[in-house]
Structure formats: C-alpha cells, structure tokens
C-alpha cells in the first residue's frame, strides 16, 4: 500500500504548458504526532519516515535536540556517529546505483534481469551494500531503523576488536567501490544541464556528512543552520501530498550534485582522482550523472569508514547527558539524497512542543517537476509508453523514495 506517483502533462500546439508531478503518498502526520512525546523520542520515531535512510533522520533529530538543550557532542562519540552515517551512505548509494538506477542505463527492467546477464557485477553491488549494512548492524544494532542511537550518543559503543573485523570486510568493499566508479562512468548519459540553485550542508573541516556548521548555496553567501527556515519555505500545491520547498522563493536542488559541486574540494585524493577520471569537472549539473557522484561518494565513505575505524577509541561513557531545557533547536545532516533539516521546540517538562522536518524529497520536488517538463518537451515525438519510461528514469536520478512509485508512473498526456 505504498505511495504512488502520477505525472499529468498538458500540451498545447506542440508546446508543454504544464507538467504536474503528483505524489499521493498518504499523509502520515509525523510533525503532528511528535508533539507531546518525550524529547528523547524523535530519533526512534522519525527513523520510521524512511527505510532506506533512517540514520539520516536519527542524526538530524539528535543534532536538533542537542542544539535545543545547549549540548555539543564531539570527540569519539561524534566520530562514531560519522562512521554509522558512512554505513548508511555506502548501503543506500549501493542500493540506488545497483538495484534501482543502473538497470535503467543498461536497458533492464530490474536488478534480477541484470543479474541473469551480469551476475558478477550484481554480486559486486551486493557485496558493497552488505559492507555498508555491516557497519549499520555493528554500530547501530540493525541495518534498518538502528536501535543503538540516542540523544547524546549511543546506548553502547562497540569494542576495538569488533571494529577490526569490520575493517577486514571493508577493504574488499573499497576495491568494489572503485570498480563501481569505472563501471558507471562508462554509461551513456543524455545531455542535460540544469540551472537550479544548489544547497548542501558545509563543514569547513571535512566533506559534510553527519553535521556541519553552515548551509552552503551556489548563488549566495552561506547561512547559519538556525537560519534555515528564513531561506527555505515549504509551500503546498494542490496536486501533491508532498510539500514543495523554495530557496528564497526559487527552485533549488539538494543531494549528490549539490554536495559535489559545493564541497568537492574536500573529497579525498582517491575520490578526487576518480572524479577526474570520470571527467566530472568543477561542477556537475547533469542529473543523469548523479549515479557517478554516488559512486564517488561511496569510495569516499568506505575510505572514511576505514580511517574512522583505524583512529577509533571507544567513547567512555558512550553518550553525554543531555538534560532537557526550554528551547528551540535546529539540526541538519546530509542524507544520501540531500540535506535533511529538523527543528524542535522543547518545553522545560521535557516534552516536544513543536516539530518541523524538511526532507530532501520536498526540497527537490519543484526541480524534479521542472526537469520532467524539459524532458517531456524535448521528447514529445515519443509514444506515451516510451515517454513514461523516460520520465521514470528522470525521477530515479534523484530519488528512490519517489521511485517507490515511479516504476509505474501513471502518465497522462493531454494534447490540445
């Protein structure tokens, strides 16, 4: 009973007038039902928003609640949080690349069909995904909806010996990740350059994943995390349950293309070298190339996980106390599909007064819609079935969260 998508296109005299992407995922009301819950509960509850990126929800929630309570989590606990998040990036990117996106480029309906001709390639993808899940399972306790994350840190921290065994599993995954970049860089990419503004979390010290000190944009100065809602405003359009966000009133994009373009100078030498091999350049504004950026970020995340394991000292205790206080807190992190913002108002009684969650899907929706308008305009000569297939691919450039529905995009073209 999952969400579905539909695209309604109106064409007049051979020109696309409107392209409305409808997402009719039934409303789940998270922001409403969080009110009155204990301030330590949002990491567990909001994880359930997504089965592919639960760590992102847990991390942005922890960042926001710790901010509201005036606590900064640093040192070994923060490094363990980054390691857990690397696990999610590896697992989610491998899933997106191999199981959802690559079959599009190679003309297969799904990964099972791809495996009948290229079993070794699919096995490489599964090995990579499993390595990411191994991090999630060890540090988080479970690959989907980890149970070990709490406000202030972790319920328990893994010992050195268990991480050493994890490192053994990650070393072959690094080779698989490098091979993935070479593989996807050889795909055939349609020409497309989008002019949307780009938005990503920024950390002056390293490629932003689990937190950052500011939000960086392509056409304006950085702004502070707590100024997020001064710039990003969600609007409600009649044709979709998912809200549309605007950046100072304009369309914008968050996710791999934004992270790469805004923060690529902070990638590792290995990841930067692979980006150069793949001819990505200083900017990447072709959404079809998001699969290449995901592959490069996977290399970075595996390397970063190995580095974090090598330098790991188990935090003792495994969390810092975060006493409740009256306040409002803001938290961001880079979910695999883009910036994820949480804001909580907390009372001195330790109960959540208000909750705001701005997921990447809502932020990207206007840009995806614009992208679909261009794709349809340029391909009006195709029949509706071929056009629907192209639109599904276009959506999968961004998001499997929408592509839950977009393997069966209900396309209607009204030609007047």
């Amino acid at each position: 009973m999952e969400g579905e998508g539909a695209l309604h296109v109106t064409v007049r005299d051979g020109v696309v007038e409107r392209a409305d992407l409808q997402i009719y995922e039934p409303p789940r009301f998270f922001e409403a039902l969080l009110r009155g819950r204990g301030y330590t509960e949002p990491p567990d509850i909001t994880a359930r928003i997504c089965g592919i990126c639960p760590v992102a929800y847990q991390t942005s929630a922890c960042n926001a609640i710790e901010d509201a309570c005036g606590i900064q989590v640093g040192g070994a606990i923060r490094e363990l949080r980054r390691l857990l998040y690397c696990g999610e990036w590896i697992s989610s990117h491998a899933l997106h690349i191999y199981l959802l996106h690559a079959p599009d480029f190679l003309g297969y309906p799904d990964v099972i069909a791809l495996a009948t001709d290229h079993r070794d390639i699919v096995e490489r993808g599964l090995l990579l995904k499993k390595a990411g899940n191994a991090i999630l399972e060890l540090v988080g306790g479970r690959a989907i909806h980890p149970i070990n994350v709490r406000v202030g840190g972790f319920y328990s921290a893994p010992g050195r010996a268990r991480l050493d065994r994890l490192a053994e599993q990650l070393r072959p995954a690094l080779d698989a990740a490098i091979a993935t970049v070479h593989w996807v860089a050889g795909f055939d990419f349609p020409d497309l350059e989008l002019e949307h503004e780009l938005l990503a979390v920024h950390d002056p010290a390293r490629y932003a994943i689990e937190s950052g000190t500011s939000v960086r944009r392509s056409a304006g100065p950085n702004f502070a995390v707590d100024a997020f809602s001064n710039h990003v405003v969600e609007e409600h359009v009649p044709h979709s349950t998912a809200l549309h966000a605007g950046l100072d009133g304009g369309r914008y994009l968050t996710g791999p293309l934004a992270r790469y373009t805004l923060n690529h100078e902070q990638l590792s030498p290995l990841a930067s070298g692979l980006a150069a091999d793949a001819e990505l350049g200083e900017m990447c504004r072709n959404p079809f190339l998001s699969i290449v950026v995901r592959a490069i970020e996977t290399v970075y995340a595996v390397e970063e996980a190995l580095r974090l394991i090598e330098e790991y000292q188990p935090p003792e205790p495994s969390y810092v106390a975060v006493p409740a206080r009256d306040g409002v807190g803001h938290g961001v992190s880079e979910a695999p599909r883009g910036l994820l913002y949480h804001r909580y108002g907390i009372g001195s009684d330790g109960l959540v007064r208000s909750a705001t969650i701005v997921p990447p899907t809502a932020q990207n929706q206007a840009a995806i819609e614009d992208d679909l308008r261009r794709i349809v305009s340029a391909n009006l000569h195709l029949d509706d079935e071929a056009l629907a297939g192209l639109c599904e691919r276009t959506i999968r450039n961004y998001d499997p969260c929408i592509s839950c529905s977009t393997h069966f995009l209900d396309l209607t073209v009204e030609r007047r």
Binding site: M1, P27, F29, L126
Partner: protein, 229 residues
C-alpha cells in the same frame, strides 16, 4: 527483501517477482501465489485496493508494524485527524485521508503476519521458504525474554534497572536492544497473552513516569489489541 544480500539472487532463482514497484518496472498481472503487503490503510483508495489485492492472491502476508498494527501513524486514531492535518499542511483542504490508520487484517483476511518495525529478514525468508516447501512457517509467539535468555544476555531490567518491554513483546528480533544495553521498546508488538498489568509496576520502579509508561506502549504498535488497556 532488498536487504537480503546473500539470498536475493538465490531467491530470485526460485520465485518470479511479479509486482515490486520500488525495484522493478516489469509488472505481471495477477493472480499471484504469494503477496507481501506493507503499509497501513489510511485512505479510502487503500481500503478498496487491499480488497482487490486479496481477491488476486492465494496467500496474503502482512509485513511490518504498519500492515500488522497501523504503524506509528495510527497515533491519529487517538487524536483529531483534522487538527493533525492543520498542523502539518498549509492547505489541509487538499488532504484526503481517513480518520484512522488500520492494519490490513482489519479490512481483509490475511494468511500470515510478520511483525516488527522493521521486520526481521530471517522471518521473511522463513515464510517464503516454507511456502516453497509446502509447509507452515515456523514463527515464534513467545516473548523477547526467551530470545534474550537463549543468547545468554544479562537482563537489563534486573541487573541495571533499565525499563524493558521484553516480557510482553513478541519475539522475532533476536533481542537486539538488550544486547546493546537498551530496554526493549516493543517494535514487534504484543506477544500472545501479554501480562501488561504485572509489568507496569516494574516499569515505574525502574523510574518511568506515568506519561512515559503510556507513551512507550503508544508507539509503533499503538493501535494493536493486547496492549491497548
């Protein structure tokens, strides 16, 4: 299913996946031998659709806390859905939804259910393996405590005074939370005949306030019977 890295290709060799929109654009028409349904019923269209799916499926399995218990979004059942919509949406008039979020079994007959938020992938493989072998799936109906004892874990409630729902929660996760020195928070829902009345004083002794006791039962399986009183 996409998290079964070691088994996915072997499984794909034994079954034909006919309709899996997240992972495949090749959709086969019904009828189907086995249908796995996740998600709860929150719109009139969902209610209609699940009846169609039931009619087309020989075996219908509800998987996950949303499908088996209405999920976290069933908290609306205890509130006012119009008020919820006004908090989340600028234009609540654009939102069409039922006042409740309910389990699949509240609408159609189901053959099996896999509990949990999320389900345990070993249980999913057990149901599919049992189907292929023509036998009944072997799923536990005991409490998380039995899994905890089997793993040889120290009881977090007895040894550390940590509140834990293990004694009343259905087994299936492998006692994950106690292994991480955390109390069980019940994401697999109530076991058969849970003795909630006996547990509540222990939760209070362990330091949970009345509000916390209420909330821990009102989470991912809030609307299910067994904990409701």
């Amino acid at each position: 299913m996409l998290d079964c890295e070691d088994e996915l290709l072997a499984l794909a060799g034994r079954v034909r996946i006919a309709h899996f929109l997240e992972a495949s654009s090749a959709v086969q028409p019904g009828p189907y031998d086995v249908t796995l349904v996740e998600g709860s019923i929150t719109t009139a269209a969902d209610a209609e659709r699940i009846r169609r799916i039931r009619a087309e499926s020989r075996v219908l399995v509800a998987i996950g806390a949303c499908a088996t218990a209405g999920g976290i979004q069933a908290l609306r059942n205890f509130g006012d859905v119009a008020e919820f919509a006004s908090v989340v949406y600028a234009r609540p008039d654009y939102i069409e939804t039922l006042a409740t979020s309910t389990a699949v079994a509240d609408h159609v007959a189901i053959d099996f259910e896999l509990r949990g938020c999320p389900i345990d992938r070993r249980q999913l493989l057990e149901v599919l393996t049992a189907f292929l072998a023509g036998r009944k799936p072997d799923l536990p109906d005991t409490s998380v405590c039995t899994e905890c004892k089997r793993r040889g874990l120290t009881c977090v409630m007895v040894a550390e005074g940590t509140p834990c729902l293990g004694p009343v929660t259905q087994a299936g996760c492998g006692a994950l939370c106690p292994a991480y020195r955390r109390g069980c928070f019940g994401c697999f829902g109530p076991m058969a005949k849970p003795n909630v009345a006996a547990l509540i004083p222990r939760l209070r002794e362990a330091g949970m306030s009345e509000g916390e006791v209420d909330r821990v039962f009102l989470t991912f399986n809030a609307a299910t019977k067994g904990w409701s009183s």
